[in-house]
Symmetry: C2
Subunit: 308 residues, 2 copies
């Protein structure tokens, strides 16, 4: 079951010829999970050919224009394209009124239900059968949320020979055992899934910080992530300015990646001043080797995990 | 004195990889006059290198998202770049509340004054020393304005030999005469500008229809324009659909161009269905030869006129 992360916008605050405003998209089992929704996101979606009709949730980190102004146009385009599936939008307090306010003056008829979930406290904000999305308060100049998308563990690997040895022959009962249900054989004997499967296999975890200085609770929040997407607006020489504006530098992001023992770090929200991002990359790699600088339309596959 | 028209966005309703949402920019004597302000306009401005600090007026045709959702991000970016010059925004009723509503939830500090002018009736909505901007009500599915930018006539050509013959020698008095002021010579003789200059020279005129079906009053409104930028969302075979959605077809635009005796026609607001626009061009050229289909970043120079 493949999982991709597509960077639709990687600019910080002001767009550049190469970078659109912030938006990151997870593609998983036909579903789309978007973090932030900067102006221009609908056109980036057209270019990336990701589609407007899929099951989708949008998680907005904070109410700065560069992170949220792509929402109204996206909704309108989805409506023009006759989207039918519900769209869930999560974000900090204010996001509901933002959308109501827009629709008060820029009228368009929605062809699909939109549910807006305002987030008032950190924790699990969305739970589905196969994954959860958690938030933690980040540390920006206005209330801002970091998001962690985490798959629930998958059942362990199934061992057919063990099943056969216990008298369970190939068929629907195998599937039940594989999916974690105990079964009863015709002879009355009960077989439990753990007798025929390995250890549960951990799910994948992707953390998106949004705009933030290094923040309290980060290490626990991002622990063991397969991919950490971290604010890295300004280089280390501009650390004071970053602190003032509520952003991080490459070495801060990399130190965070290391402390949280993540597998891979991608720096994003890149200031328009960096046409060449090699300085950012070097500063981060001093502390965390497996680092990349995000680029628009970069697509990363996060492989399934077999063992913890 | 050069005048350029830059097409920043030429899509209809939904953006495409090649077309951003509607925005057209006139560049004249360091000033920028924009018609419509679709989502993504700030990034198109970055790509077109037109600048965020110049004297500028924005004229919005109507309150559909694809024509107005670029405004908030543009204002925010101008503020981030410390713009100081006043920005004038003109548009139909509702545009003031639209901007107030946005700023209620997406807060940013403006570094420059913004004056919003809501337009309630057709006529001259903006008069400067050298030009006026007029509006006419177009015919869309919601109230929508067409705009005409028209330079005032320039004083006629100055004939030095005529001035000399009347006893005016080269110097500051020539400049006064050239600029339309009568002068008095030391000997008491009065010389009027018309004695030493040709006929006033007509200004340039650019008409932008916005989204519209063919509309009443168009011919008078667009009469003699140097450039007519006309809605041409759908091809002639889809004329019924165009009528329904409040748009025009190429042949309607071209017939309008012909009736109004304009010099040049550019079709815009091109539906996403036309990757190849040759059909649109052919349909228009049957009725008006000097037609082009707009493309993003197309730049047209409108030359000064010497005689009427």
């Amino acid at each position: 079951m493949s999982l991709y992360v597509v960077f639709l916008g990687t600019a910080g605050s002001v767009p550049t010829p190469k970078r659109s405003l912030p938006a990151v998209l997870i593609q998983r089992k036909g579903e789309q999970i978007m973090f932030d929704c900067g102006e221009g996101v609908q056109r980036q979606m057209v270019k990336a050919k990701v589609g407007f009709h899929k099951k989708m949730k949008i998680f907005v980190t904070h109410m700065h224009g560069d992170h949220v102004l792509g929402l109204p146009g996206l909704l309108q385009t989805m409506a023009l394209l006759d989207r039918e599936k519900k769209l869930d939008i999560y974000g900090p307090p204010g996001i509901k009124r933002f959308l109501e306010n827009i629709r008060e003056t820029v009228q368009f008829v929605l062809t699909f239900p939109v549910e807006v979930h305002e987030i008032y406290e950190a924790g699990v904000v969305c739970e589905e059968n196969e994954y959860v999305v958690q938030t933690e308060w980040a540390n920006h100049v206005i209330p801002s949320l970091a998001y962690a998308f985490a798959e629930k563990p998958r059942p362990g690997r199934f061992f057919p020979e063990k099943a056969k040895a216990l008298g369970v022959s190939e068929g629907p009962l195998w599937s039940k055992l594989q999916h974690g249900h105990k079964i009863r054989l015709p002879n009355g004997k009960v077989v439990k899934p753990e007798e025929v499967t390995g250890m549960p296999r951990p799910g994948r975890k992707i953390v998106y910080t949004g705009d933030t200085r290094p923040f309290r609770g980060f290490v626990k929040f991002a622990a063991g992530a397969d991919l950490l997407i971290h604010d890295s607006t300004l280089d280390d020489d501009l650390a004071e300015r970053a602190e003032e504006d509520g952003h991080s530098t490459p070495s801060q992001a990399a130190k965070n990646a290391k402390k949280a023992k993540v597998k891979q770090l991608i720096l994003t929200h890149i200031s328009a001043r960096y046409e060449d991002t090699s300085k950012l990359l070097e500063e981060a790699r001093k502390f965390f080797k497996n680092t990349q600088v995000a680029e628009d339309f970069m697509k990363i596959e996060i492989p399934l995990k077999e063992t913890s």
